[in-house]
Symmetry: none
Subunit: 258 residues, 2 copies
DNA sequence: ATTAATCTTGCATTAACACGCAAAACAAAA
DNA sequence: TTTTGTTTTGCGTGTTAATGCAAGATTAAT
């Protein structure tokens, strides 16, 4: 016989692949009675992992965030490129400035560099992972936006989040989005993050998008803003020079380590 | 017979491979009684290595929780008493209510109980440790106040923090303070926390102070509010009955498990 | 409307548990 | 070595939690 927690984990991971499962199926698969399956599903439902239906259970939308999983996988893939872009981006910063960082794996890399390279900064963010990195430097004035908690991304969002941002005059915002293209501008699939990015843009003097080269000429579901609304794009060395030229023709500045 | 330390190491390394074990398994494997296994697991749990479950134990995955990694868990004083008070306090809550929890080790214990006992709640807090606990339940609507980050306490404070609080109508606030006495009322030494507590009180219908018995008739540097501003004090079973009577004479209600 | 499958509820059985106690193992002092 | 005190361990006690089964209720499908 297996431990409860183990079964719960197995059921959850099974559902992440199958979307739906019959109770009788699970009983056979885990070699337990159907009653125990029901009780397990009951617990998982209480924690918001699954939704129980007649005959079995389905994943809740919150747990079924396929896009998030893709996003997380990509993070590992382009880590070096993000680090490269991050190290370029921080050269725009001067000691003592007020910086904004929205949620995302690229901005996390920026935060890591900031901690070591600067003495005194004010940084506002809606990402708890960034907060945990910046918290190590006691000289930094770190401000976290409030708002609703997104446990998948460890970010905050919503009206309260944006309201706090509106209280600040930010020198530089480093923004990460999921896609950027000449045609669609900045785009993202993170429904809740879009509003945060837009608010940061509206409160900031220098709007800088930091994007590794793989993001160029891709687009996602939700429009954030046209490229003309931002001042600069910082990227890594792998971006083809003809892309830089194309963008330059449309008066979009790109900074890359060449 | 093996030394304690050796067993602990063996159990730990075994768990690192298997991620879960049954207590009976360990007893057979290490050739010790099941009682000793339980005692070993008890120690390992206190050190945060494993999580004990019915039938055995599972490895705590600190690495997969960004927030947990940040929290170097300090020794908590009077933990059992706080847990006792917490379990009483949650009986005041009804499903679906909006709860506020300010920063503190006692409210952390409340959060731990909430996750298991309730299905749907809205919870607002300024404590990141509480956020990380509540994030596990996907049905909860968790709101974090924004504001300046206090890396010592993992809490948020300041004007922005209090402004967000003012947007909400809270059903019950569970408040922890450093001292409470008939003479000075609620007091605290956490300079930044005081404003948060006061704001929570002003936005809440039922103001409940949760304090283990050691806090009674002690006071700290900063005044938070007089006792008459709160509706109820919840505490543990170690509070002397004459203290309860004294408070009752002044119309201060105390709830304790007797 | 009828049937078959699934669900809920309560209950009995079993395993796991906490607690107290005494024997055993160990360590320190005489 | 012996004595004394402390810690660790294993066992018996009653208690709690998990599981599977059964009976009646509910749902979905024909």
């Amino acid at each position: 016989m297996m431990l409860q927690e183990q079964r719960h984990q197995k059921i959850e991971s099974f559902l992440k692949q199958q979307k739906a499962v019959k109770a009788s199926e699970l009983a056979a698969l885990l070699d337990i009675s159907i009653d125990t399956v029901r009780r397990d599903l009951e617990v998982l439902e209480k924690n918001g992992i699954v939704k129980r239906v007649h005959g079995g259970a389905i994943l809740t939308q919150k747990s079924d965030n396929v896009l998030n999983r893709l996003f997380n996988e990509r993070e590992v893939k382009n880590l070096e490129k993000k680090q490269e872009a991050a190290s370029i981006a921080i050269e725009l910063i001067e000691e003592g400035q007020a910086i904004a960082l929205n949620g995302g794996t690229t901005t996390i890399e920026i935060a890591k560099v900031l901690v070591d390279k600067f003495k005194r900064l004010t940084i506002i963010t809606n990402d708890l992972r960034i907060l945990s990195i910046l918290g190590k430097n006691k000289n930094f004035n770190v401000i976290l936006t409030g708002g609703f908690f997104n446990p998948e991304e460890y970010t905050l969002y919503g009206k309260q989040c944006e309201e706090i941002l509106s209280n600040f005059n930010i020198d530089i915002a480093f923004l990460t989005v999921n896609g950027l293209s000449l045609e669609h501008g900045l785009t993202d699939f993170r429904m809740h993050e879009v509003g945060v990015i837009q608010t940061m843009i509206s409160r900031t003097r220098h709007k800088v998008v930091v994007a590794d080269s793989s993001k160029f000429e891709t687009s996602s579901y939700i429009n954030v803003c046209p490229l003309k609304d931002i001042d600069l794009i910082v990227t890594d060395s792998s971006l083809p020079s003809n892309t830089i030229e194309e963008y330059s023709k449309k008066n979009i500045r790109i900074l890359s380590p060449h």
